[in-house]
Symmetry: C2
Subunit: 553 residues, 2 copies
């Protein structure tokens, strides 16, 4: 059996390796246009930031072997052709025409794997091709950025505040550069986060000295002396020595398209659950294909290293006679931004709305371990729950603590179709160094059940701000201690501080005819307050969701 | 509505608080025999070890309020009677007789909550009541241990290597004491771990200077000058100044039993899924009740703080007209032991066998984040998978990295009834600082599928040791690099080192008629080796599961 794999990234090489493990005899050839194969591109920002010392570290095995042509040949008997471009697929003759350094060749296949990946897209603005404007999508890009820094670049503008944009911002800031991130949308990481969560992330970025400009469109890149010197956005010029464009990717489908393979609605290659294209002898995986979003049921492109690996395994399994399935993703993602971990899974509010999923949202910050245990950090957790079924359909979290753990639990729960009631009794690993007795995930489920069952009415920070700006006749009842209140509180004359412990004795001070918004640090005491007020006959009480942990001014 | 709660621990107070949140009018009285309520007993080892500075930290809220009688009265209008013992329940008259400082009283109830908790059991050995022999189950115990240390106690013996025993061992070692742990069974934490996992934990304990004696039965405690001076175990005396007994707990059911409530097969109070006892007006929760093990279907006692909290909430919900359910647990547990996190969920091999669940086990160590990212640690993960259904039914993990996260993912997956095939494609949060592209959980699922599908045959460290001890005519083929091999390897003349990269070229050196056991660091290269040998026609090849990461000598 002859197998040709186009693309030496995660999907292609995982497929090739799996085929070899199952079939000792197959002739396997991998064609790669670039100079490296099997390079962990997700590590590039850490190379730029200096945490990973050599580019080669990104193509090493856990035991330190470099995954190059020699490695694949000697270990797996897989032929790797680097600097070789596949230029045509002839499906009738089952051949792939390739070119290396001007020399053409033809490879026969019984099965073909298309793993051509993606390329970064660049917005069509003036000056985008100037010297000093780059993406961060390849080893070459990373080396170029480091080189520019070594040659004295001091200022950087990142265009696009997606995951790669933000990781790049941290990397360059770690090199002591002056960094500005420009984002067209109203928030960072708009594809996975809602604005109440991104407010916290943006605040952290600002605290770390990264300037974040949202709702800002790049109009032009300014050149001088043959290289970039500024970025014009919303009419103002930002001086810079370096521009990193991180405005998304585009799947490389040209070869597949020319071969007449079906291209899906997203513009990526269509595959079935076996990762087979519209030609049963041709499989495809990684950034160049589309897959299913298991919550929305929509087709999406999921250009992530973990997805590519999983798809590659399924391809290898099926080419060697198996019947493995890759059913889809739920857009789980995580990134580190300075001291914060930011993670999300399932849908955010925009995606839910777009897919017609009616959701209830809850915000439930909580400590990531027993609050008396040293090093406890607070996690800001948000859940989206589908109305009527009460299944969890999305989660977002940020903070300095064990954020990724909670999102992985929730990701597993979403994929299993768990309801908030089931989540509420999940048997998670509890000990003081690892979790509070009720894990934030469980507390969030409890808060969601309380909200569903009418135990409290919530109000978001945005809604409260609006009320205050409008001058609504409300009382903001802050029930934290006097000390906590003194340290920081909502700056409005509508704010009254009655510490929770004194509340029952001081109910007389609170007017019964006004709308009351209860506020505390995380939301627990304000919920308790709402219950006490409700019990005492107060009618119009709302809890500020997430408390001061989500407040910003 | 009058509600009486017997017991001021997690279950009782959670129930009381939930009742108040749902019912502003109920008269709620909590009866507590001790002097504190709502004290986080799970934190006691950290108080002893000096990480938590005050006992009162263990009864503080996240915002620093002490949860005492005054707190519950002022905030929640709940009456707490401390140092008050419930001595009789009259179910006909719906009254509870209580005594405080010799003075008797009677409380009426419409609903009663029994949350009497558990007491530590002490083995019936001579000298068990000597001065200096204590448990670590209460604030008083913890204070006493610290006092003895302050007064110069230098040596400690811990009887019982369960979770509390091991946490106590670390705490006392952190005080620079000389610590010996004595365990009757063949391994530490026998209720949740298998011996291949505990070997690693015991090695770590020894490295940290804690002496661990397994298969060792305490025969006698020796006194001198009115206090403990030694422990005789397996015929030898271990000198000591302090003994901590941590040999398990016994639910406090006496009151319930005398009231004629149904006691379950485990000896704990029987409750239905609504946490109702055999008397519909009486609910019970926490350490004094039994619950369901959702994997084995058996009744068990689950004396954990998180379980008590969840049950308390269900009780409060149902007393106020709700219909919440607590369906059971899967014995998820985690503990920190020096630099290691040790965690488990579902069944271990002994529990699976006992419950008649036929399992396949796999061992799959892996890095907890991208291996090139600074600070990566290796997790030793073991999965138990039910044969035929191929559902995951148990997992155990240890190591210095993010162990708890993986066990929480697996715990969620087990509760959702996921198969290894589903686990294999789980969409978890991937970025280099948080996980490798294929998370250890996913790799473990892949290894399990490979084993199920006959891609390799495994051999455990114990089986290999036995073969070597017996002098079987085998070849142990270590395929790590020469450097890795030099640093440490299995000490036997049967061991041959052929680095994996050279394997295909040196196949001629390997005899075809002998059984071959392939070995590497984690199991990946030895699996690759097995596939290469299989492809080259070798018949009798086995992979050492877990590789050198699980080896011990």
């Amino acid at each position: 059996m002859d197998v040709v794999v186009i693309g030496g990234g995660a999907a292609g090489l995982k497929a090739a390796s799996r085929i070899r493990r199952k079939d000792a005899e197959a002739k396997i050839t991998v064609v790669e246009a670039g100079k490296y194969v099997s390079l962990g591109r997700c590590g590039l920002p850490y190379y730029v930031g200096g945490l990973v010392h050599e580019i080669d570290n990104l193509r090493e095995t856990t035991y330190g072997a470099i995954r190059d042509e020699n490695y694949f040949k000697r270990l797996k008997n897989i032929d790797i052709l680097t600097l070789t471009k596949a230029i045509e697929i002839d499906r009738k003759r089952r051949t792939v025409r390739v070119v290396n350094n001007g020399k053409e060749d033809e490879l026969n296949y019984d099965y073909l794997v298309i793993a051509t990946g993606s390329n970064p897209v660049k917005p069509p603005v003036e000056g985008i091709d100037a010297e000093g404007v780059t993406t961060l999508a390849s080893a070459e890009d990373a080396e170029k950025i480091v080189e520019m820094w070594e040659e004295g670049a001091e200022k950087a503008v990142i265009i696009g505040a997606g995951l790669i944009g933000l990781e790049s911002a941290e990397a360059l800031k770690n090199l002591d550069m002056e960094v500005t991130v420009v984002e067209m949308m109203d928030r960072v990481a708009p594809a996975i986060l809602d604005r109440d969560v991104t407010m916290l992330v943006e605040k952290h970025l600002e605290e770390k000295g990264v300037k974040v400009l949202t709702n800002t469109k790049v109009e032009k890149i300014v050149e001088g002396d043959g290289k970039v010197k500024g970025v014009v956005a919303n009419g103002k010029e930002i001086q810079t020595d370096l521009v990193v464009v991180a405005t998304g990717i585009k799947p490389n489908v040209e070869l597949a398209e020319r071969a007449g393979l079906k291209i899906g609605e997203t513009g990526a290659i269509w595959v079935n659950e076996y990762m087979q294209t519209s030609d049963e002898k041709i499989y495809a995986g990684g950034d160049c294909v589309e897959t299913n979003h298991l919550v929305t049921g929509r087709k999406i492109i999921a250009p992530f290293g973990d997805v590519a690996n999983k798809q590659g395994r399924v391809i290898g399994e099926n080419i060697t006679g198996g019947r493995a399935v890759f059913s889809g993703v739920i857009n789980t993602a995580v990134f580190k931004i300075f001291d914060f971990t930011v993670a999300a899974t399932g849908v955010n509010e925009a995606a839910a709305k777009d897919a017609g999923i009616e959701c209830m949202s809850v915000i439930a910050p909580g400590p990531d371990r027993a609050h008396y245990y040293p090093g406890t950090a607070y996690i800001r957790l948000k859940l989206l729950v589908e109305k009527e079924t009460w299944k969890v359909v999305g989660a977002q979290a940020t903070g300095m603590g064990e954020v990724a753990k909670r999102i992985d639990i929730l990701s597993t729960a979403i994929q299993a179709g768990m309801t908030i009631d089931q989540l509420s009794n999940l048997d998670l690993a509890y000990a003081p160094p690892y979790a509070p007795a009720l894990d934030p995930v469980i507390t969030a489920a409890n808060v969601a059940m309380n909200k569903r069952d009418g135990m409290f009415k919530g109000i978001t920070v945005f809604e409260l701000k609006e009320k205050l700006d409008r001058g609504d006749d409300i009382i903001v009842l802050d029930v934290r201690s006097e000390d906590e209140f003194k340290r920081s509180h909502i700056s409005s004359e509508k704010v009254v501080n009655i510490p929770l412990l004194e509340l029952r004795e001081r109910l007389g001070e609170i007017p019964r005819d006004k709308e009351i918004v209860t506020v505390c640090a995380l939301g627990l005491r304000s919920y308790e307050t709402a219950r006490i007020l409700k019990g005492a006959g107060f009618e119009k009480v709302k809890v500020l969701e997430g408390g001061m942990a989500f407040w910003f001014e």
